[in-house]
């Protein structure tokens, strides 16, 4: 028995050695270069910020007036913590992937929701950048001011168009007005049909899919489609309707709507409608149709000039105190703004209006002293 135990222990020891060896190559930066960090983090005035940012870039500026940041020249000893919205997550991941590919330090992103991200940033002070798919609220601004000594800096990075979708077999609901959409999503009776939405529609049974009440998508949809209830802070009519509430995963809405079985000629077949961010429609445009809201279909142009009524802004928030302590945050944000429009199309969102992007650039330039 003893020799067997020794053998097994040896196996375990070998396994532990392999573990230690494998962990060794990736990020030795944290421990050894943490020492370098203390010497560099000491001067936390804007002088240091001006020093490190503009010099290496060669003085080039982008169209937004921001310096062209070279990720290879950013100090890898400083870690930047980014956390927040799961909607902005794919976009930030795309930018960060490119940043790392071009030699930038390996930051990380946590997808914990806009509320969670702003809480970690404003209340706990444990992150450097907060991603949000909604504008920051007043009490969050208040806690940010307390934690960071000043109001947070808002950086608009893009837009997401909420698309209403119907199945390919749906032959009548390609264009809906906001009022019709509101009626569709507030059907409270099990026997509700599309004829209740618009008397000219055939009386197919209606089925609605919606994300849950905690989701930013839900919140924004209600703000646009049910403005009176939203203003009065009453519960959304969707919650008391017969809608199927999906929860976090919009892929379920895709499935539910695409497979509703809506067929012309079979009035008993259910015809479903749902909504989610444009990226989900773009990926599934062969099994879904996008509804034109008030005659406007979601596209880059209609989102840019705001003619599509249900498009929501995407933001990042940071603070002056953060940038003073970590100039790398400003460098990353500058890189982000310079490169976001080339990546945003693939991710499935739309570029922010030029004016907003410029405002964001000016905000960060002012804070960092670019």
């Amino acid at each position: 028995m003893k020799s067997r135990t020794i053998r097994l222990l040896a196996l375990l020891g070998a396994f532990a050695l392999v573990l230690a060896a494998c962990g060794g190559d990736g990020g030795d930066t944290t421990t050894s270069e943490a020492a370098a960090e203390t010497t560099e983090a000491a001067p936390d005035t804007t002088e240091a910020a001006a020093e490190t940012t503009t010099a290496e870039g060669g003085g080039e500026t982008s169209d937004l007036g921001l310096p062209v940041v070279d990720p290879l020249d950013v100090d890898p000893a400083v870690d930047v913590l980014i956390a927040g919205s799961s909607t902005v997550f794919p976009l930030s991941t795309a930018v960060l992937s490119q940043w790392i590919d071009e030699g930038g330090p390996e930051y990380s992103i946590d997808s914990i929701g806009s509320g969670g991200g702003l809480e970690r940033f404003c209340v706990e002070g444990a992150s450097d950048i907060a991603n949000a798919s909604r504008a920051i609220e007043d009490d969050e601004i208040a806690s940010c001011s307390e934690t960071w000594g000043a109001e947070p800096i808002e950086i608009r990075v893009g837009s997401d168009a909420l698309s209403l979708v119907i199945s390919p077999g749906n032959y009548f609901a390609q264009e809906l007005t906001l009022a019709e959409i509101a009626t569709a999503f507030s059907t409270a009776d099990a026997g509700g049909t599309w004829a209740d939405v618009n008397p000219e529609f055939p009386a197919h049974p209606i089925q609605m899919f919606s994300p849950g009440a905690d989701s930013g998508t839900f919140d924004y949809f209600n703000e646009i489609v049910f403005p009176e209830e939203y203003e009065a802070e009453e519960p959304s009519p969707i919650l008391s309707s017969i809608a199927e509430i999906v929860g976090e995963d919009d892929n379920l809405t895709v499935q539910g709507v695409a497979e509703d079985g809506c067929t012309e000629g079979d009035l008993a077949s259910t015809c479903a409608i749902g909504y989610f961010g444009y990226a989900y429609y773009q990926e599934n445009s062969d099994v879904l149709q996008a509804v034109a809201v008030d005659g406007v279909a979601p596209s880059a142009e209609t989102v840019d000039d705001n003619s599509y009524p249900i498009s929501r802004p995407l933001f990042m928030y940071t603070a002056q105190a953060v940038i003073d302590a970590k100039p790398e945050v400003a460098q990353f944000v500058a890189y982000y703004l310079n490169n976001v429009n080339s990546l945003i199309g693939e991710v499935g969102y739309f570029p922010a209006p030029e004016a907003d992007l410029q405002t964001a650039a000016d905000n960060i330039a002012g804070a960092a002293g670019f």
Binding site: G26, T29, D101, E102, G103, A126, E248, N251, D286
Partner: protein
Amino acid sequence: MSLEAPPRPDQGLFPTDQEYDSLLGRRNRKAQFFKVFCLLMLTIAVVALATLLYTIVNDSFGLVAVVNQNDPDDVVASLGHDPETTTLNDLSYDELVGLLEANVSSGVGRRLERDQRFYEDRLVFESDEVWDEICSSNEPPAGCTRGPRNTADVFSLVQERVIVPDVIASYPLAQSIVNPEAFEQEVAAGFEAGRFGDYTADQASIEWRAWFNTTFLLAPASATPEIAGIRTAILGSVWLVVITVIFAVPVGVGAAIYLVEFAKPSRFNDFVQTNINNLAGVPSIIYGMLGLAILVRVLEPFTSGAIFTTGPAPSDNGRTVLSAGITLGLLTLPVVIISSQEALKAVPDSLRQAGLALGATRWQTVRSQILPVAMPGVLTGTILAVARAVGETAPLILVGAASFITADPTGPFSKFTALPIQIFQWTSFPQEEFRNIAAAASIALLILLLVLNAFAVILRNRYSRRIP
């Protein structure tokens, strides 16, 4: 003397032959039915497992429609060769490097060069002055000392960055084997519907792809599903399991030993027992909240490693593998305790009494007599705990696991991510290819689980024997 059966009393005491046969027959049938029922239940469980594995494997391999952003033939032609006779494989090293130079952004090129040079004698992307400067700094990049790249490496770089194969649609394994033509039709229909953006139907080719492959296991995370990998996640999961087991098994077995061997029956101990049973049922997300409140916030000096070093802390905050590992350890502790308790209770008292009779102390008896016999049960608890720790998502997100991270964890105070978190993230993305790599990551997780549990299972099989 005849050999006939002795005369039997007529009725009353013993059943007749027929009655006996029918009674026995009935009992045998019952026994047979029961055996079949039990076997059927076992089969159902195994079939359920097989179905689950099938759904995972189905998405991890299959046909894909690929569009090369730059067609290899066009690329070869642009260099002056005839695409009919020359392929990408035939290009020389210089030509390949030239392709990279022409197609890759300077930022990426410089980063590649700093990782490993292309030529011994000249630089491709960097200027000589800058190169000398960085090589003589405190932390020279790897490229300063490493030998130059080889053709195979540059070829794969060209594939990845010049040809850029983009998977536009994928097909499950079962259908790929049974009905591959349907996929071609689906892709054609997709092109007609305009689903694939600017690409045209003639650019697409259908090929076989194994989403679960060694590149996938060794590559770091990325926003592009074709090149994303799970190396960081695997390492994170392994670190988590190791910390969980180091914490939960000794503490759990210790608590079980205390409760079974040393504690006298009292209301307090009854209360502790109920408490443990109750903790087994607390949802994992609440342990996440506990971990966040206590381990990440209150115990930050400990979990960020600040109290272990005099210099700056290894981590900026308490969101480290250590916090998450202990949180998972607390989560799995009740199961380890309960199963160890049952294992200890099942050991016959005769062993304990024998030990005491020989003058051994309680602990000596436990250590040398009881524990080895109870080992299989303890190991079962460990196996179930490891399985739970490897598969948990919700508490890890609360305790600060990153959703996107490319730097490998190097110690207990590192930032980290874990396989279930990657799987969860990827399944919620709209692009279909993410579901394929989520399935491949699930396979990796199961293999990891098997490897981690193999040790305990072998030990368990070795120790388990029937008590006579």
